[in-house]
Amino acid sequence: MLPLNDTESNRYSFLPVMTVILIAVNCIVFYFEMFAVGDDYWPFFMKYATTPRLILSAQGGGALSNVTAMFLHASLFHLVGNMLPLWVFGRRVEDACGPWRFLAFYLLAGTWAHVLFVLVQSDSRIPGVGASGAIFGLMGAYLLLYPGGRIRTLVFISFVPLWPRIRAIWIVLYFVGIQIVPAVQILLRKADYSTNHWAHLGGFFSAIFILLFLRPEAFARYLSDTTV
């Protein structure tokens, strides 16, 4: 299941400037990672990714590493897998917030994703990278703001590609649902996963803060139970 596009149009602004900038920055940083960092990635990740042990012992980049980690990706698949939902869910969330507050919310969701990751996997020395925590925050925010939204999604049924418009709630529930079992295993059995499931959940639950970031008109619409 791969979300491709939100089929509804924007209400307040024409272009989601900050979403486009974030995608561009992520791509540029990935290019830098691939070609400038090369094989010597360990020191680079230690400095610029979120490592629970380093964060808790107040070593390394701290807040800066937390922010830079949101722009680092481990592979091209990781990057594309994050940038596509960033476009799909970010566009209308940015429309409801305005570019600067959208950026603040994006960073806040990413930070809270890392907070949960650090607290749950406090012994881990493995650095966490990726925009996925912040993107889960955007998914949660999208669900709060546009519960009736529909997303054009690529699905394969018996290897046959289909792209129906699916209600956002099913897509978000699917992506959040697949985090729960591994997250519980990490918590109870200290299981080792390459995916940062707790960060995803942390980001998702930080979506509640989106109400502080909405434009006044969008907030009034939210309170009036009409489409934000």
């Binding site: 230690m46 390394g60 980049g61 603040a104 930070t111 650090v118 006044p216 008109e217 009409t226």
Partner: protein
Amino acid sequence: MSSSVELLQRAIQAARAGQKVEARDLLLELVEVDPQNEMAWMWLSGLVESLEDRIIACENVLTINPANEKVRAYLAELQRQHDIFLAGKNNDDAADLFTQAKAHAERNDRRTALQLATQALEKREDYEEAWLLIGRFSPDIDRRIAALEKASKLNPANPQTASALERARYSKANPLSNAARLEQLGKYEEALKVYEGLAAKAKNSQEFDHIYKQIIRIEGLRKENIRHVAPTSSIARLTFAWPLLYLSLALMQMGLNPLKHPTFYLLLGLPLVITGSFLLSLAEVRSHHIVWQKLFYEQGDGSPFARLVATATGWFLVLIPHVLLILDSLNRLRNFKIPPMPL
């Protein structure tokens, strides 16, 4: 005639004996027969009960004998008492009417409130609070200004009246700003009326288009039945956004444990971020705010210059603590010894 004299003597005797009712009845009988009897009217003026009747009796004496100075002086005193009584009665009536007006205003029934306040002013013209009520609730800006001017004349020391008058004059001079203010207060109907009035007076098509867009927008809000959110609550809500991010980042910087890894100057940045975030919110949410008055000496929702200054100061205050945070991180990175890769 002899019976008139007799009647008068009987009445006087009765009055002297303390039989006032009997004396009064005899005198009334007498003046009916002989209305030009000065003595009878004089005695009556002292025997009738109501102030109005006493005045009438005295007036009749003076009609018969305009040279009666004693009665003239007595009439003047009676009239003074009558005026005081009337003023007191009017004051009570006005106070009653104003209380009702206030109650209607509280129930948002402005039309009745204004009518009652006007009636209160008919009873008592120097009723400051009634003028203030009209100055506050009248939909007609000229009437509002006139009422506030009257209230200001009655009590020049009232600062609220002075600022309300200034605001009303500003609204008259800046009708677009006034319409925006009405919209912010959720008074869509009144805002539409102002915009429609402005559209009728538009000087060119560009101005008309701008006003027409506002009308379409407000009608859209009414059609969608959008709930009104007070500008102050929007400002308060938006003020929390940036401080929340800063606090989260500062906590990360302090290893999620400010007691174990305290970096107090990072926490000191929080009030700066809150102030900056407040200024940014204020500049965005167009509202009549005391900050514009106190800092920029401006009425209304802030001039473009004031908003620009508020925005620039807001960004400065928000960014400075974030920059300090980054500098602190960079400083830590400079001294950071990279741990070996786990096997």
